[in-house]
């Protein structure tokens, strides 16, 4: 069975290559005949097909995995050695265990749906084949990220998805904005990645081994010193912070919305940004061995969830609002993990992938229908015009808001339950509930602003074609049933947690009356949020928030880029000034010293020329003086004898 593993990475990769070649052909043709369009069906078919096949392979493998006894649920595929240098050995080994299987299913499944959606969305784009090449490459990298059996391989995927993110954000590179956003995303991620790398180095220094099994085992057995565990966990979490857009590195994600909307759905909502959550889950033993870091994870997550929630609330741009929402939800996941509820974090990751992808796709449909309009002020009343889209969006928002029976309620509930149990419980719990409240508030704000009230747009929007709607419907269905994966209250079963038990061990948190209490509380909070949103925004458009918008806090949140501006003003500027100062230093001091030597030699030569004045008697004086000096030197030097 494990022989199928490489296919998971290989299929999308092959798809990417094929699309790349087709793109090259398009370029060559375009030179001859500008009108000749790409064979979009072929490209879309290959791209979507490869991911879909990967999904089926993943399903197949997962079924096989489940047929094994829990402690043996892992497939490994060894593809030889990638790097072997000195003490460092990196085998090219893929690992499928419940955690990576779950991730694989989400990535390939959601990925396939979004590929399908993209065929419709990207129609007639001159970069159609290029788009799918990138998208397939992304899926390949993402699958490598989750399937890699050791940190370096994960890092390959990690940076690979970063690359694809960069390429896809800047897909419409002719405009400056997307290109800048892509660059920003990559650079900010790199800062986190530097931490990731250092974490890898630290583990390599301490352990020599970098595969997850060894690292977790060493952390469990105490082979890894506590200091090293803390350091490594903190450094690796830096990587997670960057990739998952947590404070303080969250600044890139709102800008990343400059890319095509399906990209935002797949990469910047459903999959890539969750890589950090996955990483922390993957190395949960290490993080458990570093409780301080785990607390940091929770606090960062909670803080991000809260602040990004405010951000989402105050946005006037539909996609940016969703982006902040994503940041907030990722924060929640970290909050759960920080509290020790890793399975809850992963469960929320899964459901979030469904409904957030759905929301983005629906938003894409709206934007598509409005001819690229993203401003919430220029929407409203679209429920009548785009009924299918409306329903899908509503399903997504419902799920997001954490109201049953949609998925968000159940997975979020898990997190909140975990938060109240783990370390730092009161703080994390409070943050969690506050974020939940905000989530419901902004979720319905979006629904009301987009779909209710007066029509503030121009033109006559039409419902999107089936190619766009079908993936949305599928995701809507998943958003609905997805909650069952997290928690089935009736039987009090938690399928995902149970599925992941071989990885995380049995999680005894939650359950019973206490859990019900949490559920009721969270329901109440979400419902209050819903009611407030309904009161403020239903049929009123942005007018509803006029009072709020005067608050300084709101303005800060709306601007979104407070931290961004802060970075630009301090870190970036300081680095820039440092770079220019280095340039000046190099030119005048370092090179100046070099040129100074040259000038000194020339000056000495000129002095010599003055002495060499052509007058023979002057020379004679020189000779006589030299002879005198020689005598003097001989007597002085010889005097020592």
């Amino acid at each position: 069975m494990s022989a199928l593993l490489p296919l998971l990475v290989g299929l999308p990769l092959a798809g990417a290559l094929a699309c790349g070649i087709l793109h090259a052909r398009v370029l060559v043709r375009r030179h001859r005949d500008p009108e000749a369009a790409a064979n979009e069906a072929l490209v879309g078919g290959i791209a979507t097909g490869s991911v879909a096949v990967a999904f089926f392979v993943a399903v197949l493998l997962t079924i096989r995995l489940l047929s094994l006894p829990p402690e043996h649920r892992r497939f490994e595929a060894d593809l030889g050695t990638w790097i072997d240098a000195g003490r460092l050995k990196v085998p090219a080994r893929l690992l499928l265990d419940p955690l990576s299987a779950l991730m694989t299913l989400v990535v390939s499944g959601v990925g396939a749906l979004i590929h399908l959606y993209s065929i419709g969305y990207m129609r007639r784009d001159p970069g159609f084949a290029r788009y799918f090449a990138y998208l397939n490459l992304f899926v390949a990298a993402m699958l490598l990220l989750v399937l890699g059996a050791n940190l370096p391989l994960t890092f390959v995927g990690w940076e690979g998805v970063g690359l694809c993110s960069y390429l896809l954000i800047g897909f419409w590179y002719e405009k400056g904005g997307p290109a800048d956003a892509g660059l920003k995303a990559f650079v900010v991620n790199r800062i986190g990645d530097a931490g990731f790398l250092l974490g890898i180095f630290l583990l390599h220094r301490e352990l020599g081994a970098l595969d997850y099994a060894s690292v977790n085992e060493a952390a469990r057995s105490g082979l890894l010193p506590a200091n090293a565990a803390t350091g490594a966990a903190l450094l690796l979490f830096c990587g997670a912070v960057g990739k998952s857009a947590q404070i303080p590195l969250q600044v890139w994600l709102p800008d990343a919305m400059a890319g095509p909307t399906p990209v935002s759905a797949l990469i910047h909502a459903a999959t890539m940004v969750t890589a950090g959550v996955y990483l922390v889950g993957r190395l949960h033993v290490l993080f458990l061995a570093a409780p301080a870091v785990l607390l940091v994870v929770g606090l960062v997550g909670g803080g991000t969830a809260l602040l990004a929630g405010f951000g989402a609330l105050a946005q006037r741009d539909l996609k940016k609002a969703l982006a902040y929402s994503t940041i907030s939800q990722l924060g929640l996941m970290f909050l759960g993990e920080g509290a020790g509820a890793f399975d809850a974090g992963i469960a929320h990751l899964v459901t979030h992938a469904f409904f957030k992808a759905l929301l983005f796709l629906a938003a894409g449909s709206v934007i598509h229908a409005l001819g690229g309009e993203q401003d919430l002020a220029r929407m409203g009343g679209l429920a009548r015009r785009l009924p299918a889209t409306f329903l899908c969006f509503l399903a997504g928002a419902w799920a997001l808001s954490g109201l049953p029976p949609f998925a968000g309620f159940f997975s979020k509930d898990e997190i909140l339950g975990g938060a109240l149990h783990g370390a730092g419980a009161p703080v994390l719990g409070a943050l969690g509930f506050a974020a939940s409240f905000l989530t419901a508030l902004y979720s319905y704000r979006l629904v009301y602003l987009v779909f209710s009230g007066r029509e503030n747009f121009e033109g006559r929007p039409h419902e999107s074609p089936a190619l766009l709607l079908h993936p949305m419907r599928a995701l809507a269905a998943l958003s609905f049933v997805g909650g069952a994966l997290a928690w089935i209250p009736i039987w009090n079963r938690r399928p995902i947690a149970e599925f992941l038990a071989p990885v995380f061990g049995g999680n005894e948190a939650g359950g019973g009356a206490e859990h019900v209490l949490v559920a009721v509380l969270s329901l109440a909070v979400a419902f209050v949020g819903f009611l407030l949103a309904r009161r403020l925004w239903m049929d009123r458009g942005l007018a509803g928030e006029r009072a709020l918008a005067r608050l300084p806090l709101w303005r800060v949140a709306a601007a979104g880029g407070v931290l961004d501006a802060f970075y630009r003003g301090t870190v970036v500027r300081a680095a820039r000034v440092l770079a220019i100062a280095c340039g000046v230093f190099d030119l005048f001091v370092v090179d100046g010293a070099v040129n100074g030597i040259g000038r000194a030699a020339s000056a000495a030569g000129e002095t010599l020329r003055l002495l060499q004045n052509g007058k023979v008697q002057a020379y004679a004086i020189g000779v006589a003086a030299a002879a005198g000096a020689l005598l003097l030197a001989a007597f002085l030097l010889g005097g020592t004898r």
Binding site: R87, W158, I191, L197, V590, G598
Partner: protein, 502 residues
């Protein structure tokens, strides 16, 4: 006695002689002729690569004949390579044909001379890596310098005379100190065989070892160039013709790092230990400093030149970690840098040939009109900033991981350079390729077939080394292990001074 190495080394020189002696007009297309000649070393190098016995650390394909005796030391006309040399020979042989293939784009005049100098330079560089005699090494070391002086000086930009003079003087100043140190070693050890010198159990007297190490290190540091000795490089690159920059960055700088690895570490283990902190610091600082400087540039060539300083600082750091992983990474990174920086210079050359401009601000939105160029530039940039899956990553990762495992601080500092590399290089890519097309650059023709032919082998190399570094690492492993073991073992056996032990 296997004559393959002398043939490898002197084949280009023979070609140069033919060009020089051919009657005027006799060589109709000298660049094509030279290109043809330079394929021979490439073929030989490929053969060597596959014939190389990866399990052995001893010099292979030896060729040795008496040359002269000086001061009781037998100086031989001796060749022989181990894994370390093999990789760099392969790189040199690969860049040789590219040198000539790229030339027609920017060398309009005096092509015959250009071809002859190029071939001579090829001989010099191959010789540096292929010899196994100290004195012969030095001869090739300087011989490889002279052609580049003319290549930059004759076919360079407006400030070429100053730049090339500075380049030559700077490097010669370092080289001559190296020469003195080399003489001291020669006299003290009584042999000029560099493998013997690097392997013998006998150590030089401590005082000589220190001074000789300093001489060697200084000579190589100028060539690399390490931090305070780098100012010749940007100037030379800016003025050099594209081909010259490619070879300068691709091979000539490697001669410095090769020297550090081949001579400084194994021949002076105690001094290496003593000065390792300094060199680690200079390497790491250079990596960051170079990156910052690259960021501050508005001229593409200068940007790439400073990025070279940054990358090679990293390499030097890896070498002086004196740890197998880091050293293997450093060696691999030398090749990586040769490929990616060579390609970057070629790409800048592509733009320059079309517009006669090199400023960052002279370009914008080029990707639209030059998609192939954009793809190659993107690939190269990502290789250069160390994206996993491409070659730069493997080298950087090994260097940093290895260095971190013995001295975390410099490695951590140098990691900042990894971040900065993305800032400056992708920033430049953003400016040049993306955004609205500038009127001046909106209709540039895409890479020609010839240009693509110069770039694609390099691109292929980047992917190959990134995905399959195994065959390369495998061949250098025994040699590197030997160097590191000796360096470490002897440094610990007889500490030069107490604080020398880190």
């Amino acid at each position: 006695m296997n004559p393959v190495l002398p043939i490898l080394v002197f084949a280009p020189a023979a070609g140069a002689a033919v060009l020089a002696l051919a009657p005027r007009g006799g060589a109709r297309d000298p660049l094509r002729f030279a290109f043809g000649i330079s394929l021979l070393p490439l073929a030989i190098a490929l053969g060597l690569f596959f014939a190389f016995d990866a399990s052995s650390a001893s010099p292979q394909f030896p060729f040795s004949t008496a040359w002269f005796r000086s001061g009781g030391v037998d100086v031989r006309f001796a060749f022989g390579i181990d894994g370390i040399s093999l990789l760099l020979i392969a790189l040199t042989a690969l860049l040789g044909p590219i040198f000539f293939l790229a030339a027609p784009g920017h060398i309009a005049q005096r092509r015959r001379e250009f071809a002859a100098w190029g071939l001579l330079m090829q001989t010099g560089m191959l010789g540096v890596f292929a010899v196994s005699d100290l004195v012969l090494f030095y001869v090739f070391w300087e011989v490889s310098l002279v052609p580049l002086y003319f290549v930059i000086g004759i076919w360079g930009g407006t400030g070429r005379a100053r730049a090339t003079t500075k380049f030559v003087l700077f490097t010669i100043a370092g080289s001559l100190l190296l020469l003195l140190a080399l003489l001291a070693v020669l006299l003290e050890a009584g042999t000029a065989d560099l493998f013997e010198l690097a392997r013998g159990r006998r150590l030089l007297p401590a005082s000589i070892e220190r001074l000789a190490f300093l001489g060697f290190a200084l000579g190589f540091a100028v060539k690399v160039p390490l931090l305070p000795f780098h100012t010749w490089l940007p100037e030379a690159h800016v003025e050099a013709p594209t081909s010259g920059s490619v070879v300068l960055a691709g091979v000539l700088l490697k001669m410095g790092t090769y020297g550090l690895l081949r001579f400084c570490l194994p021949m002076f283990p105690r001094a290496s230990a003593e000065f390792a902190p300094l060199l680690l610091g200079l390497g790491a600082a250079g990596a960051v400093y170079g990156a910052l400087l690259a960021w501050a540039q508005r001229d593409l060539k200068k940007l790439v030149a400073y990025s070279s300083i940054s990358h090679l600082g990293l390499v030097a750091m890896g070498l002086f970690a004196r740890e197998a992983t880091a050293v293997e990474g450093a060696l691999l990174q030398m090749v990586n840098h040769g490929l990616s920086t060579g390609a970057l210079f070629l790409l800048v050359g592509v733009l320059y040939d079309r517009t006669h401009r090199r400023g960052l601000d002279d370009f914008g939105g080029v990707a639209k009109s030059m998609p192939l160029f954009a793809a190659l530039l993107g690939l190269t940039a990502f290789a250069s900033i160390g994206l996993p899956g491409l070659n730069g990553f493997v080298g950087e990762f090994l260097i940093l991981a290895g260095t971190f495992s013995v001295t975390p601080v410099p490695a951590a500092v140098a990691t900042a350079a990894v971040v900065l590399s993305a800032v400056y290089l992708l920033g430049a890519v953003r400016t040049v390729l993306f955004g609205p097309a500038l009127p001046a650059t909106a209709r540039l023709p895409d890479c020609t077939k010839r240009e693509a032919a110069t770039l694609l082998p390099l691109a292929g190399g980047m992917v190959l080394l990134g995905v399959l570094p195994g065959p390369f690492l495998e061949r250098i492993r025994p040699s590197v292990a030997q160097v590191v073991e000796r360096t470490r073992a002897l440094a610990q056996a007889e500490p030069a001074r107490p604080e020398g032990q880190r």
